[in-house]
């Protein structure tokens, strides 16, 4: 630093000295010398001019020695002076013009200066604006940075919350799964428990059945008294009209309701039952006897022995084809309705015709014992239902149904009839009036009740077999099959003894068996019949099914 200061000292000294020198030696004399030289020039010029003038004067004087007068000389002088004056005025004018232009240029310069000033002022203004804007920009940037920071913190918080949320979700899922698992285990336990209870119940039931069977067997082994009272715990039927004795062989005591129902799968015996159409078929309550009725006016009796139907006998007396057959609950009487407008009753032990009930004015299509076995109800083509008393053998009541009655079934209080006009009519026995009417979609061809009389099976011409719940009189189930066609107005269908199956014969000779529980077709048995099946009957033991056809054949089915 000292070196630089020293350097500056001598350098500055030199510079100052040079400036001083110039001031003294040059500037002081510059102007003077310049003016002096100009004056010198001028004086030289003047000297030259005056010399010239002198020489001219002398020349003129010499010339004028010859020429006259001084006036001409003076004239010439005056002319020269005038010329010089003119030149002088011109020069003055020119000088004036130059001064003018100088003034103008000065003005322009001033204007330009002003412009420059104003531009500079504007520039200053702009600079100020720029500074201001820069300040604003800085402020905005800082606020932006703040916002970004705040945003970032919010995002972080959100991420943290997301993580917590997903963890909780996971926990919930796991807990739900555990819950489900526990619930299913509990249900399984419950089901097991229920199954156990069911099994116990079944065992219990079976035990009771076995006990019952044993008791029955015991009872059967006992020498029967004249008054067969029967130890039917399950039935509510009362025996009456026991004027005829019954022998143990011919008395087909009905077995228990809990029959071992076997779904038939094969045709055991195919045989010609009648000469001509076979209209009706019915097992006896004891399942040993089979009755068929046909257009040949006979009711033939068969015994089912080891998978065969052995002819036992025939019941005659009808004047026209048999339309329906029914045994009474004891199996001692057989009731058959006939096309000759009458219904007949035979006794089973001696095959003798006992009663003939006439009164209808049309074919009797169906005749049934009422539950007390003392009365009979019959339905006829003449659109009436007649109630007959067996003691007095007269028609007690005639009810006008309004339509030809195709089939009848009875409960304790109620008679149900299926009619040509697609209706099923429910009659109260005591009051003789219609309690209820159900309309189906086709002519009702057949009615059947299940063993505890809670369900009514109907078959109608629209090829549908329906189960009606008698508690609420509504169609509970409908069975149909692709090939199943109701063959005639009198095609009969039947429940299985325990009500778990339904058998119906089709117009093409195929026997259809449906499962009531599942509602699905269980079996189609087509190897047997060659023409439309008219009627089906299931043995109360559940072992056999017999179906009869238009073509005089009957088939015995079982699952062996």
């Amino acid at each position: 630093m000292a070196g630089r200061r020293v350097e500056c000292t001598w350098k500055r000294h030199v510079a100052e000295q040079l400036k001083q020198r110039d001031r003294v030696q040059r500037q002081a004399f510059e102007e003077i010398i310049h003016q002096y030289n100009r004056l010198l020039e001028k004086s030289d010029l003047q000297a030259v001019l005056s010399e010239r003038l002198q020489t001219e004067k002398y020349e003129l004087q010499d010339r004028h020695d010859v020429s006259p007068g001084a006036e001409s000389l003076q004239q010439e002088m005056a002319q020269i002076r005038i010329r010089h004056q003119e030149e002088l005025t011109e020069l003055h004018k020119k000088r004036g013009e130059l001064a003018q232009s100088v003034i103008e240029l000065n003005n322009q310069i001033q204007q330009k200066d002003k412009e420059i000033q104003s531009n500079e002022a504007k520039m200053l203004e702009y600079q100020q604006q720029i500074a201001q804007l820069e300040g604003e920009c800085r402020d905005l940037r800082s606020s932006l940075a703040d916002l970004e920071r705040a945003n970032q913190t919010l995002r972080d918080e959100y991420d943290a919350l997301q993580i917590t949320f997903s963890a909780l979700e996971e926990k919930l899922r796991k807990t739900t799964e555990d819950n489900q698992e526990l619930v299913t285990r509990w249900m399984a336990e419950k089901a097991q428990e229920a199954n156990r209870l069911n099994a116990e119940n079944e065992k219990d039931c079976r035990r009771r059945q076995a006990k019952l069977q044993k008791e029955l067997a015991d009872a059967a082994k006992e020498p029967l008294p004249i008054e067969p009272d029967g130890v039917c715990v399950c039935f509510r039927r009362r025996r009456s009209l026991n004027s005829h004795g019954t022998s143990p062989e011919s008395a087909d005591a009905p077995t228990g309701v809990c029959a071992e129902v076997r779904v038939p799968s094969t045709a055991l015996h195919v045989f010609d039952a009648h000469d001509g159409e076979v209209n009706a078929v019915r097992f006896s309550p004891g399942s040993r006897l089979l009755a068929t009725g046909g257009m040949d006016r006979r009711v033939k009796l068969w015994e089912v022995v080891a998978g065969h139907c052995e002819p036992k006998g025939a019941l005659t007396g009808s004047n026209a084809g048999i339309t329906s057959i029914e045994f009474d609950s004891a199996g001692s009487y057989l009731l058959a309705a006939s096309n000759d407008f009458a219904s007949r009753i035979w006794t089973m032990d001696d095959y003798r015709l006992r009663h003939t009930l006439t009164g209808h004015s049309g074919k009797v299509l169906s005749a049934r014992f009422l539950l007390d076995n003392a009365r009979i109800v019959s339905g006829s083509y003449d659109r009436t239902l007649k109630l007959w008393d067996l003691r007095s053998k007269v028609c007690m009541k005639t009810v006008f149904a309004g339509s030809s009655c195709n089939d009848i079934v009875c409960t304790e209080q109620c008679v149900m009839s299926g009619h040509f006009d697609k209706k099923v009519r429910f009659w109260d026995i005591r009051s003789e009036s219609i309690v209820c009417e159900l309309e189906l979609l086709g002519r009702v061809t057949s009615l059947d009740l299940n063993h505890d009389r809670t369900e009514l099976l109907t078959c109608s011409r629209d090829d549908l077999v329906k189960i009606i719940d008698l508690r609420n009189n509504a169609v509970r189930q409908t069975f149909s099959a692709q090939g199943f066609k109701c063959g005639s107005d009198f095609t009969r269908v039947t429940f299985s003894p325990d009500g778990s199956y339904v058998a119906a014969g089709s117009a093409d000779g195929v026997l259809y068996v449906w499962n009531v529980l599942t509602g699905k077709l269980d079996k189609t048995l087509d190897k047997g019949h060659s023409s439309a099946i008219n009627s089906v009957s299931w043995s109360p033991s559940g072992t056999y099914v017999v179906s009869v056809e238009k073509g005089s054949r009957a088939v015995l089915w079982s699952d062996m």
Binding site: V6, E7, T9, W10, K11, H13, V14, A15, Q17, L18, K19, Q20, R21, D22, V24, Q25, R26, A28, F29, E30, I32, I33, Y36, N37, L40, D44
Partner: protein, 280 residues
């Protein structure tokens, strides 16, 4: 070899300009014994310090030839107070040496007759002045750079130097001259400083010796160091002498290298005048 350009500060440039444009107000008067037709008026002129008498006095000649008869005119020569002025010295040197502390303007007497053959050189034409000028430059460069820079220059560059001086063109001259002022940085300065020391009362015309600008130990040597070696009396009797360069007295601590770069004359020599101090 390429030499780095020394950084010339703004102050230094001002110094160069002031040195170049230095002027001396001179009054030329005709020697009374010269035969004249009429009285000759004196002629005033501002002479450039860095130029040469015969180069700038054409107007003087023209002025005085107006009054002097043509047949009496021989080569014009100048004298100051009896001392013939050598035209081959720069004008500034002549003034500082002879008329340093006298009243301005410098009164120079113009002669047309009796040319002093023993004291002055003839100057028949400007090419003589050019030759002298260029030889000074070459001599200076020989001392500074062993003559490499001046020899690397082309003929047109030499011409440019001369034309710059003749026409008083500072920029034209210095465009070329700056090359002669360069030196390799590791050296710290020129090889030797081209200088001449003039003294009023001396048998020698001038002192010129070899002098390095940087000491063997690496110190930057100053004007004082130079004078101590060449003219010790100027140092040790400061009141008695003045050390004048270009009409100023630089401080003795001024580095000699800087002086050579900035206060040299166009002929690249540093002309130093030692004059008696005025006793007022």
């Amino acid at each position: 070899m390429t030499l780095p350009t020394p950084i010339i500060m703004a102050d230094d440039k001002d110094v160069l300009r002031d040195v170049w444009f230095g002027r001396i107000p001179t009054c030329f008067m005709l020697y009374p014994d010269e035969v004249t037709e009429r009285e000759a008026e004196p002629f005033y002129l501002l002479l450039p310090r860095v130029s040469y008498l015969t180069l700038v006095t054409d107007k003087v000649k023209k002025h005085f030839l107006k009054v002097v008869k043509a047949e009496d005119v021989e080569e014009m020569w100048f004298e100051y107070e009896g001392t013939p002025l050598k035209w081959h010295y720069p004008i500034g040197v002549l003034f500082d040496l002879h008329a340093s502390n006298t009243a301005l303007p410098w009164s120079v007497t113009v002669h047309f007759k009796d040319f002093p053959e023993r004291d002055l050189l003839h100057c028949p034409s400007s090419s003589v002045i050019e030759a002298h000028f260029m030889s000074s430059i070459k001599e200076a460069d020989a001392l500074k750079h062993k003559g490499q820079v001046i020899n690397d220059m082309q003929k047109k560059d030499h011409k440019q130097l001369w034309m710059g001086l003749q026409n008083d063109k500072f920029d034209q001259f210095w465009a070329m001259n700056r090359k002669l002022m360069e030196y390799p940085t590791e050296e710290g300065g020129f090889r030797y400083i081209p200088f001449r020391i003039y003294q009023t009362l001396s048998d020698r015309p001038f002192i010129q010796k070899l002098f390095r600008p940087v000491s063997p130990e690496g110190h930057v040597l100053t004007l004082g160091d130079l004078l101590k070696e060449m003219v010790p009396a100027a140092i040790y009797e400061p009141k008695k002498y003045q050390v004048v360069i270009h009409g100023i007295e630089p401080l003795l601590e001024t580095p000699i290298q800087w002086l050579s770069e900035h206060l040299s004359h166009p002929d690249n020599f540093l002309h130093i005048c030692i004059v008696p101090a005025p006793n007022d």
